[in-house]
């Protein structure tokens, strides 16, 4: 992990952000620094994204998925996962409308029998015109794939992909990290998913969650940055992200008042502070260290599906020494944390993102939002994403 960035240029930028949050109308130029982010309604191109869990592809059955607006078909061939474009080159229909596979490494279009090889996407037969002149000369797009930590990653882009390690949070690929998780479709733009997760005061919505009622975790109403340089901007080499050290650089708010009414966080006799650091990484993945319990790290991907939906990945990781420990951890996630944290806590987030989707479409949020001081982390994330993404995904 690179050290904290403290050169004077950054400080100047952060002072600008501070001025913007105090008085947006006089500092509108600050918004220029996240213009690319505003265009990325379908995400950033030329990055690695998780597509499915390994266990989703246990047999050789082809599986259609959509990422960043692109339809593709995944299939395990001789143990290796391959990905091809989900469109026949002939009339552009999706194969997934009716999947037909006559051999273990091809797919045949249900419409006119155009048959493609999974490894290179080449047209290998046309069932309706044997000896068709197009065979071997035409093909469809294939996608680079990597399988690791029980997840299948696909590179959405053009040209040679960078290392997967550039596009996941530090530590995620560590060999001694055991992982387990779930994924589900959420009805909001991916950026609203990412921002809700990284937002240090959104935790207000979790105060009465099942997680808070069944564990000894202590959660304040919000976390307010103590100084304007409390964010660490990680610009690489390696993954690019914004790190918020919640434990050291923030003041937790446990009670507030409205007139004479006090609103307080849930206090517990032996309560345990959780989530000592939260960070967000390109192309859109969150890491919460020490959550849902001190020895666990939560990773969340918000992978664009369409402009209005994203695949929400919730993966818990724990450092282990033996294979048995890994199995025990996975079993603990499935039997306990999935209910108490991944649903009993994060369902609040899913609900908030869907409310944000209305706010940022019908409510014109990208133009009319009025961010406040604790949102500095969101501004830093927008700026980082705008500066270091590898391309804006467009619908083709």
């Amino acid at each position: 992990m690179p050290g904290e960035n403290s050169n004077s240029a950054v400080s100047l930028e952060q002072r600008e952000v501070e001025a913007f949050l105090d008085d947006p109308s006089n500092n509108q130029h600050v918004k220029q620094s996240w213009r690319p982010y505003l265009e990325a309604s379908l995400g950033f191109r030329n990055h690695w994204y998780p597509a499915v869990f390994s266990h989703d592809l246990n047999r050789d059955e082809p599986m259609p998925v959509k990422l960043l607006g692109e339809g593709m078909i995944l299939r395990r061939v001789d143990g290796q996962v391959l990905a091809i474009e989900d469109r026949c080159a002939h009339r552009r229909v999706p194969f997934s409308a009716k999947v037909e596979c006559y051999t273990e490494d091809t797919i045949t279009c249900w419409y006119h029998g155009f048959t493609y090889n999974f490894r290179d996407g080449k047209l290998v037969a046309v069932l309706t015109e044997p000896g068709c002149a197009l065979i071997g000369k035409m093909g469809i797009k294939t996608y680079p794939v990597q399988e690791i930590q029980g997840m299948i990653f696909v590179f959405i882009g053009d040209g040679a992909p960078p290392r997967l390690g550039e596009d996941v949070p530090p530590g995620f690929l560590d060999e001694d990290l055991a992982t387990e998780g779930i994924r589900r479709t959420v009805k909001s733009n991916w950026r609203l998913g990412a921002e809700n997760g990284f937002d240090t005061t959104h935790i207000y919505i979790h105060r009465n969650s099942k997680f808070m009622n069944t564990t000894d975790a202590l959660l304040p109403l919000g976390l307010v940055p103590t100084n304007k340089q409390s964010m660490e901007i990680v610009k690489g080499p390696g993954p690019k992200g914004v790190v918020d050290k919640l434990a050291s650089n923030y003041v937790p708010v446990f009670a507030s008042t409205i007139d004479n009414v006090t609103v307080a966080a849930k206090m517990k006799p032996n309560g345990q502070a959780v989530a000592y650091s939260v960070s967000i990484w390109l192309p859109g993945v969150l890491r919460v260290e020490g959550f849902p319990s001190p020895e666990i790290t939560q990773f969340e991907w918000y992978v664009p599906i369409s402009e209005k939906t994203h695949m929400y990945w919730q993966v818990l990781g724990k450092k282990i020494n033996h294979a048995e420990d890994a199995a025990a951890f996975r079993s603990e996630v499935k039997s306990y944390w999935e209910d108490v944290a991944l649903r009993g806590f994060n369902d609040d987030d899913v609900w908030a993102r869907e409310a944000l989707e209305d706010a940022y479409t019908e409510g014109d949020g990208w133009t009319k939002e009025r961010l406040f001081k604790p949102d500095m982390c969101l501004v830093e994330w927008r700026k980082l994403a705008s500066a270091y993404h590898r391309g804006i995904q467009k619908l083709t």
Binding site: Y204, G222, Y360, K373
Partner: protein
Amino acid sequence: MQPESADPEAQAGQREVKAFLDEPAKHQRVKEGWRPYLEAKLGFRNHWYPAVFAYELNGDEPKAVKLLGESIILRRVDGQVYALEDRCAHRRVRLSAKIECYTSDTITCWYHGFTYNFADGKLVQVLTEPGCALVGKMGIKTYPIQEAQGMVFVFIGDIEPPPLLDDIPPGFLDSDLAVTGIRRDIKGNWRLASENGFDTTHIYIHRDSKVVKATDTILPLGFIPQDRHSMIVVDGPGPKGVVDKLAANYIPVFESEVGAVKVSATMKPSGKVVAPEVSSWLPCVLKLQAFPTPELFVFEWYVPIEESNHWYFQVLGKKVGTTEEATAFRSEAHSFWADVMWRGFNDQDIAAREALEDAYTDGEGWAKERLYRPDTCIIEWRKLASKYNRGIQKSGR
């Protein structure tokens, strides 16, 4: 009420309308007279609209409602009704998505604890950042409110609101008028609802209605204007509307023929002809005198919600002498007229509006309609609304 308009300009205008109805292709320029009306998909801005009935806000529980595309949250504070924009200024989420009120005169956003006062919309606290610099400096929009006749009216606009009286039909606020009603979310643009109600020949669809069957009311198949000046255009001061004197200036049609087949209105031995007068008022309200029976009044608002639906306020009124009479009337309305009139009669209007919605979207009715002579009233309403509205409501507010 203004006297009948007889000035030369108005007469010239009505002659033009006649020529247009006889031969639209040659008189297309007449349509220029209602161009603003065609733009008003979301209604007219800077007018008063009913939002809810007063009894819907009996406790202090906030209630969300959408009018003219604007999301609003209403709450009764110390007896008085207040209205706030239903969006937090911070991240624009709806406060009503999950209502949190810690005190009787504030609402707190469920997301980050931004707390607003109902009276002035000011930000009074941020629970997640006590002492936030924005407190007292930022706020959300409030709406002027008036409660009258058991209804809560909201002013949607930017100007200093005119008196409520300018935006409701004459007589509605009379102290001896008892009123009661219901509201429903109905499919169809508000203008189609308004035109269906004011249309003097649409009553053809009601010939077998429950009102005709369950009362001694007689309804003709339609009403045809006797002369081209039978409409009174009331252009203020006060409310602006078009009044049709059905009893005085129209010929009722009780029977027609298709070849050798006769089509007749339902006739009754001691039947009463009703509805001597119907009028349509800005911004979107209809008044029927002496309907469904001679001693009753009908008031109907068609308040835009979005472009393709409206709040249908169905209100009955009756002149009463005492509070007991008022109570008896309200009870009669909800036990009898709710079934016979609001459902048994007006459900036919609702079906017609839904059919019109398709006709004026997919069917391009605004461009392709072919109006006929009895539709003069609709044209006069479109012209009046185009001329005297206080602004066109635009989407994206």
